[in-house]
């Protein structure tokens, strides 16, 4: 998998994909890593405002929101997750917060589903390797400046 901002010249041809009748796009983790993801949009979540409290009792507002990414494949792979930006950190850094929401179901070489939990675990790893923070920073800065 490759962030849109940093195309990888070693990327392979995207896999042939289809939507199952249950709405999932099934593919192997290997096939997933050949897919390029693009940032669709990110938003603040005003209903989930959070306050971080330090052990000493000081508090700092934490910006929270979500981000949406998708592939250019047909059908598209879709991923979204929540993020938080803690003001107390220096420099401030976006961090993924919680599960990954997607239409992806990973399958093994025999076509067996990984299941929701197994798929989520692999998607979390993939996101950790994706340079998504820069895209979110730019988008949020422009949208809410």
């Amino acid at each position: 998998m490759n962030a849109a901002a940093r195309p990888d010249p070693t990327v392979r041809e995207p896999p042939r994909l289809s939507v199952s009748t249950d709405g999932y796009v099934r593919l192997t983790p290997t096939a997933f890593h050949a897919v390029r993801l693009l940032h669709l949009f990110s938003e603040l979540d005003p209903d989930a405002a959070a306050v971080a409290v330090s052990p000493a009792g000081a508090s700092a507002a934490t910006l929270v929101g979500f981000t949406e990414w998708a592939s250019e494949t047909l059908p598209a792979l879709s991923l979204g997750w929540n993020w938080r930006l803690a003001a107390g950190n220096s420099p401030a850094r976006y961090e993924r917060d919680g599960e990954v929401r997607s239409n992806i179901m990973f399958i093994d070489a025999n076509g067996r589903d990984y299941g929701a939990v197994g798929t989520d675990a692999l998607l979390r790893e993939a996101i950790a390797a994706l340079d998504w923070q820069r895209a979110v920073t730019d988008y949020i800065s422009n949208r809410y400046a």
Partner: protein, 189 residues
């Protein structure tokens, strides 16, 4: 809270009008959706005699949430208006698949509620469970819904099995998406 559900012929007199007014308050006035509305009432071509409604009343008898269920074997919102949200999948036409739409649980008795607070926690949980139970009684095994993207976080927070059908799209300035919700296994307990 009191739950009321059924097709229009089985609802109390004037109840649909109150639900349509509540929908106008939520979707048109608060969320700014461009919907068919007149005289403070929101309804469309999918509000039919066979449409099933689920609504909750608060302790003062005010509507505090509503949802609409449509069989996919007849015209429904996703298939007719937003098929692109299905990511290339043909819109389902299956008696075991029902559409959930116009879902909202905004509590107008909460003065601090923001326009995006479409889903107040306790009312949302109750309404979602009741909508799923009602759908199950209608024969649904799965629901497909067209909703703002925020509902996906909420549904999964409630422990309900659900996953998106494809990427969200901005339509009329609002990010919406289609979401599959498993009814079987989620309606007990």
């Amino acid at each position: 809270m009191r739950v009321i559900s059924g097709a229009p012929s089985g609802l109390p007199d004037g109840f649909f009008g109150r639900v349509a007014h509540y929908r106008h308050q939520v979707f048109v006035e608060q969320l700014g959706w461009q919907l068919s509305a007149q005289d403070g009432v929101e309804s469309d071509q999918f509000d039919r005699p066979d449409t099933v409604y689920v609504a909750i009343e608060d302790h003062e008898g005010q509507i505090a949430g509503c949802a609409r269920l449509l069989p996919t074997t007849r015209p429904y919102l996703l298939a007719e208006v937003f098929p692109e949200l299905l990511n290339g999948l043909s819109p389902p036409s299956d008696p075991a698949v029902w559409e959930l739409s116009r879902f909202a649980a905004m509590d107008f008795n909460q003065p601090a509620a923001t326009p995006l607070a479409q889903f107040s926690t306790s009312a949302t949980a109750l309404l979602m469970r009741e909508a799923m139970a009602c759908a199950a009684r209608c024969g649904a095994e799965r629901l497909i819904t067209v909703s703002p993207v925020g509902i996906e976080r909420l549904i999964r927070r409630l422990g309900i099995q659900a996953h998106r059908a494809g990427p969200p799209m901005r339509i009329g300035g609002h990010a919406i998406f289609a979401c599959w919700i498993e009814v079987q296994g989620s309606t007990h307990g």
